[in-house]
Amino acid sequence: MSFDAEAFSILQGITHWLLIFSAVFGIALVVAFLTSLVAGGAAGPGLFFNRLSEGAADAASTSWRRVWALTMLTYKEAFRRKALLVFVVFALLFMFAGWFLTGTEQAPQMQVKVYVAFVLTAISWLVLPVVMLLACWGLPQDIQNRSIHTVVTKPARRSEIVLGRMLGFIGIGTLLLAVMGAVGYVWTLRNFPAPSETLAFDADADPDREETYEISATLGTRINVRIEGPDGQARRFVAANDAELASLMAGRYPAPVEEQARELVRTLRERNQPVLVSRVPVYGSISFTDREGNPVERGINVGDIWDFRSYIDGATRASAIWEFDGISHDRMGDALVLESHFEAFRTHKGKIDKAGLEPGEETLTCQFTLRNDLRSQTARALAVGKGFTHLEPMIRQGAFTPVADELARIADGLSGRKLTLTDEQFDDVAQGFQDFVELLRPFENKPAFSGLVASARRAAADARSAAEEASLERISALPSSLTGLSQDLAAQSRELKARIDEQTRTSVSKELAAGGKFPELADAVAAGELETAAAQLQQLAENLLGGEGTVDSAGLAPLAAGLNKLADTLEGMQRLPEADKLAALAADCASAADDSNPQALAQALEALAGGFRERAAELEWALADLNVPLSSFQVREFKENLTPVRRTIVYHDDQLNQTRTADLYEDLVHGDKLKIVAQCLDPGQLLGMARPDLFIRTPDRPFASGYFKAVLGIWLMMVLVVLIAVTASTFLKGPVATLLTFTLLILGTGFHPFLSDLVKGDVKGGGVLEAAYRIGAGTAPTVPFEQSTATEVIQTSDRVILGGLWGVHKIVPDFNTFRMSPWVANGFDVPWSTALLPGLATTFAYLLPCLLIGYFALRLRELEAK
């Protein structure tokens, strides 16, 4: 079972349902109409439409009072017939179950798995048969001993009888489930008590005086601490995390007592991980690269028949890349936890018994890298159109000015009709720009440094024009702009130093040093001592004012360039302010391409080229690829590996060979997407990975969350069983209805996956008849079927049979949808969109059809015992 099944699309589900429902309903109507023609002759159609309109009238006059009366009747019947004796069986089961389950020698997680699976299975195996039998026998018995005669001769509609019966049995099932679910929950909790400890602590250093505090701590989903002072007064603190606990306790007890309590919680946590939790994973999508780092569909196959996982080679550029969606601070909090379960394939034994490893576990080092490859993404986004492929390498290298030139050239070609695009190409272009717009969306204005940028720009402009024009006026303006800049720079120097990396600083300082005029300034910038640099600038301004320094145009040009560079860098800090403007230009391109209008596209391209040209530097910075490696870890096989990721990550950039910091949400998460690359570091060893093997573990939810959702899953299944059973019992006798319901249950549980494969054509060797023929003729399933009239007939009938099976597959409910216990047993919360929603949809899908069948079956038959 995989825990990351495809998310259920409700819209798709409804369309699917509507299709099948209307098909089946339509066929039923046609058959009914023909039957009425055959049976009633000319009067048949009249009768047929009468019945339909009566049905509509009955549906319209449904009275919930009557439905409720019938519901309560059903309920009382079950009660008085002692159906609830099943509780006794349940109680007995649980009293003795503990003996037979697991021994304590197993890992706690395994024990939980067994217990939870047992509890949920026991509940469903007790509730479902009882409810199924009750529901299958209720109506037939009513008809058999004719008590239904006194009901249908009252104004009760047959639809109300069906509905009332259904609701009644659902009510009984709900009661059974609620009681059993609650008992099972308490029983599980009692078998796995939260780690807890109590200690006595003497807070007074003086050995003669005793001041004893009793401290106890319990680690559930929340931290629970109780402190009883020497005066016998006790206080209880319940907190979600250590920080909250500390703030709750703060100042209420002497510092050593508080410290002792926190210490107790820490040791308790180190010793026992709480086992009853509902983990909430966020799954991503996976792709691979081969040993050379080229993207590939899958990793290496090590010869496993089970090709669920594919392997990446150690100490090569082979990697698995996960992309996660929906990552935000609101959802994940300050720190992320990555949970991974990888499988190893060893070509040699490896190093054994390294520190931190349990004996027998061999080293296998895995390395996660957080990646923000915006530039490559942009490149890919814009290079989809066939006419634009040559843009990709340029963008990848960050050369946005040539990109702008190229765009302008294409625009030129388009407007001059030298270049024509096919509709398909237009589509590609439109898509590319649309993607680009999406890419820019996260770069909304973050105006942290806008003032600084402005002054740097002003200073740079002044310096440049002073250099170019050598005009005195301009030169006299320069000192004041330099002063302004130096002040801003000094104010924000600390923050800047942390965020401007060495490479940038070097390049700025190179520009500054180019003319040889400002070596001190260049040095200060290179060293990241921006305060000194500010002082230097101030000095320069003063020199200029006092006319002491002789500044010629050759000296000012590099200053202008350096300052510009600095401004560019600073502006990048804001991560592309007014990204929306650029996005709007790209969107224009997309829509022009959508309209297949070369003229408009040319204009839009030109505009975008202008935008690129104007902001090439900003783009280069904001769209730079970022690779942030996390510290590597030893893979523990068959156990979960937890890798915490802090919000601010200090890492070593190998390419630049320097230490840098990155902010998880600012720098690495793009929009709400996060890329994580996994690599194996040990040469000769391979790590096997599949999509669900790595997930982000958002804050755990209480065990009850997953548990009761699984109970809800059983409830949904119970409801569906009731719907089917009651419907069957409207036209069948008790035993036959039971048989039918049971058959559907078995078909829908055991054979549904097989049927799925069959109708999808995944089974080799052709259809039923073809297979029979092959067996007869002794040909292998893989040999192509020879073509002749006979085989044609065989294959055609197979297709008909397959069509029938397809119908069965579509109509028989898939009861596996309701199996949610594996999630809970494995410590996961039951996800809404991949588990609960499909379950809900499945049950709902059968509600109307069952009511319709039930109503017409009761309505169209004489209620005589036969």
């Binding site: 409720w68 009382k76 008085r80 239904i148 005669h149 006194t150 249908v152 001769t153 104004p155 009760a156």
Partner: protein, 318 residues
């Protein structure tokens, strides 16, 4: 002008079929009858003659093979008409796990009755049918007569305008039978229409305005009770006790008028006689059936006739 009939059937035929749809029993053959508002109508006939079948057809529990039915001006399968109908089945098919109060409350909920109305009405009915002492006991503990009584109460819960009773007195003790008859008469006083099946001819004679006799699914006799029991060819004299001389004188007087004295007897319960005669006749001459008068309405203002004037075939019973 006659009021609209409460029940009207035209050529009602019911053939029971087996699982494969093959005809098994022709339980009712071309029945045409009307029941007028405010009358007590009795359906008589030997076992298996189609009485219960007729009632079930009227209630829409069975679907007619042929013919038409209108009950309270609506087709039989219309559920809406049930608001004004009360039905006591042949055997009381009730929910045995409920007690008397719960039973009446449950059936009350199926009508537009408020909680208070239900409580009041069921209290009244339980007292009326004499189950006050057993109102909290489950029906499975009831005797046959008690079950009959709660069945009747159930039929009357909605104060119906038309009551269909299938053998209402079966299983009741003599007092219960008396009470049942009183109840039927009371219903008639209230202007309700009652249709009942019974074998107990004395009961029928006591309460019914009109009767129909079925035999083998065919209508043999229908009409007002007193008229059916009057033989137009004979005159019955009822006097205070006569001496033998006086009888001679009377005989002489009759001879003068060309009449003969056939018998001198006390009046008897002659419905039984009629019933037996009809059944006898039907056995001798099968296939004859009563068809209401040619105008389609079937009834003349003064009542119906028998299938054929029947001569008294058997000696009077003393």
């Amino acid at each position: 002008m006659q009021a609209e009939p409460v029940i009207q059937t035209r050529n009602l035929t019911k053939v029971y079929r087996d699982f494969w749809g093959r005809p098994k029993v022709r339980a009712l053959n071309s029945l045409t009858l009307d029941v007028r508002p405010g009358e007590v109508f009795g359906l008589l006939g030997p076992n298996g003659s189609g009485k219960t079948t007729t009632l079930k057809l009227l209630l829409g529990l069975l679907f007619p093979t042929e013919g038409e039915i209108s009950v309270l001006g609506k087709p039989a399968i219309d559920v809406g008409k049930n608001e004004r109908i009360g039905y006591l089945p042949e055997e009381s098919y009730l929910y045995r796990f409920l007690n008397a109060e719960e039973t009446l409350d449950f059936y009350g909920r199926l009508f537009k009755m408020s909680k208070e109305q239900r409580r009041q009405r069921s209290d009244e009915l339980i007292k009326q049918v004499g189950l006050d002492g057993a109102r909290r006991r489950q029906l499975k503990e009831y005797s046959k007569g008690m079950t009959r009584r709660i069945g009747l109460a159930q039929a009357l819960i909605n104060d119906p305008d038309l009551v269909l009773l299938d053998e209402p007195t079966s299983g009741l003790d003599p007092i219960g039978t008396r009470e049942m008859k009183d109840m039927i008469l009371r219903l008639r006083e209230q202007g309700k229409t009652v249709v009942m099946c019974s074998h107990l001819l004395a009961d029928v004679q006591d309460v019914c305005d009109r009767i129909a006799i079925l035999y083998g699914g065919e209508l043999k006799v229908m009409g007002r009770v007193e008229e059916l029991l009057t033989d137009q060819g004979e005159t019955e004299l009822l006097t205070s006790r006569l001496s033998p001389e006086a009888v001679k004188d009377v005989e002489a007087a009759l001879a003068r008028h060309g009449a003969t004295m056939k018998k001198v007897a006390h009046p008897t319960s002659t419905l039984e006689e009629l019933f037996l005669k009809t059944v006898e006749e039907s056995k001798l001459r099968p296939g004859r059936r009563y068809v209401p008068g040619g105008d389609g309405e079937g009834d003349k203002a003064n009542g119906d006739r028998r299938a054929e004037p029947v001569k008294a075939a058997s000696p009077p019973v003393t």
